[in-house]
């Protein structure tokens, strides 16, 4: 949906001018999920309201509510994912209600944001995409990986390491990043990934003007199921990059990492990571 109808300028126009758009993540609204109890209650109410009105329901679904919060109509994602069908659906609602066009009610803002973290943390922003349209879905996916200041000290090479020398961080710190190296799939539970082989190595290249630069070399072999059931599919990837940090403070100025050959499910994919 993100790179489909939600990237259509016509859909964006309709949603911003005539609707109050909102999305809800099912995982957050289940027992133990991070959504507020009132949010969970609202989603359950909407679902039951749609059921009672004998409208289509589902976990991946569109629900349209009137200004009293009652369900007006619904659409299965298989229909909503077709831009033309979604536009017809939205226009039908607007026509039915006689909703006038207006300005967006909320200031649009970036929806993929780094998680809150202690001051001085390193937030890495990751983008994944297919290179050949095989073995994974099209489009792009993002992840955020955060290292606290204490973890950063263990991630980067120690200050006494001379240019030419190399070291590897604790495996847990390496795996936290590498488990996100996979293309666009239905399964996004990194807890299900099985890292079979991995290496993350920093080689100090230079130390000048109070800044240390290290080369990054990484390698990964990881079982990652496309769907949520075992299929034996494996990510094989090599990555290269560099990191610049202030030698005295250990504060990262630039962290950049890209795949240097990555395959999955018979296709090739790319991952790029940068500090934000």
């Amino acid at each position: 949906m993100r790179t489909g109808p939600f990237s259509s300028l016509d859909v964006i126009d309709r949603l911003n001018a005539c609707f109050v758009p909102v999305y809800a993540v099912n995982e957050d609204h289940r027992d133990g999920g991070r959504a507020a109890p009132e949010e969970k209650a609202q989603l359950r109410r909407i679902y039951r309201d749609a059921l009672a009105k004998q409208l289509s329901t589902g976990t991946v679904h569109v629900y349209v509510l009137d200004s009293r919060g009652e369900v007006l109509d619904t659409r299965h994602v298989a229909d909503a994912a077709k831009t033309r069908d979604l536009l017809a659906f939205l226009d039908g609602i607007v026509s039915r209600l006689g909703t006038p066009r207006g300005k967006p009610l909320v200031q649009p803002t970036a929806q993929s944001r780094p998680p809150s973290s202690p001051h001085g943390s390193l937030a890495l922003h990751l983008v994944a995409r297919s290179l050949d349209g095989r073995g994974s879905w099209d489009g792009t996916a993002e992840d955020w990986i955060v290292y606290t200041p204490q973890e950063l000290k263990k991630l980067l090479p120690p200050a006494e390491l001379e240019p030419g020398a190399a070291c590897s961080p604790e495996p847990e710190l390496a795996r936290r990043l590498l488990t996100h190296i996979y293309p666009i799939t239905e399964n996004n539970d990194t807890g299900k990934n099985e890292i079979k082989e991995h290496e993350l190595r920093f080689t100090v290249l230079s130390r000048a003007g109070g800044v240390t630069r290290a080369r990054i070399d990484a390698r990964l072999v990881m079982r990652h199921d496309f769907y949520h059931k075992p299929d034996g599919k494996t990510v094989q990837a090599r990555l290269i990059g560099y990191v610049d940090w202030s030698t005295a403070e250990g504060k990262v100025k630039t962290f950049r990492l890209v795949t240097d050959g990555a395959t999955y499910g018979g296709g090739t994919f790319a991952v790029a990571v940068r500090s934000e």
């Binding site: 990237s7 911003n16 909102v22 995982e27 976990t59 629900y63 666009i184 950049r256 990555a262």
Partner: protein, 86 residues
């Protein structure tokens, strides 16, 4: 010898097809990495999702709907549509 050269050529070709490029040295590392990052990063068209005026949550959407008389468009999903991991 010929067999070994052919095998090397195949390995280079396989690496190139998988997105790897030969000859990444310490000297050109930053240039190669920066170039790939620029090519593979999100384009403005791929960030159009951010142009939608999403309400923070269902309660805020209901409140805005009551005030404006506009209908709420609610999309529910497994995974996170805002990052494309869904």
């Amino acid at each position: 010898m010929k067999t070994r050269c052919s095998a090397c050529a195949l390995l280079v070709l396989a690496g190139w097809l998988a997105g790897a490029e030969p000859g990444v040295t310490d000297g050109n590392l930053a240039a190669v990495v920066d170039d790939r990052l620029a090519r593979w990063w999100l384009t403005p068209d791929e960030r159009r999702f951010d142009q939608i005026a999403w309400a923070r949550d269902i309660r805020e959407a209901l409140k805005l709907s009551a005030q404006s008389q506009r209908p709420v468009f609610l999309f529910t999903m497994d995974g996170r549509v805002n990052t494309g991991r869904c």
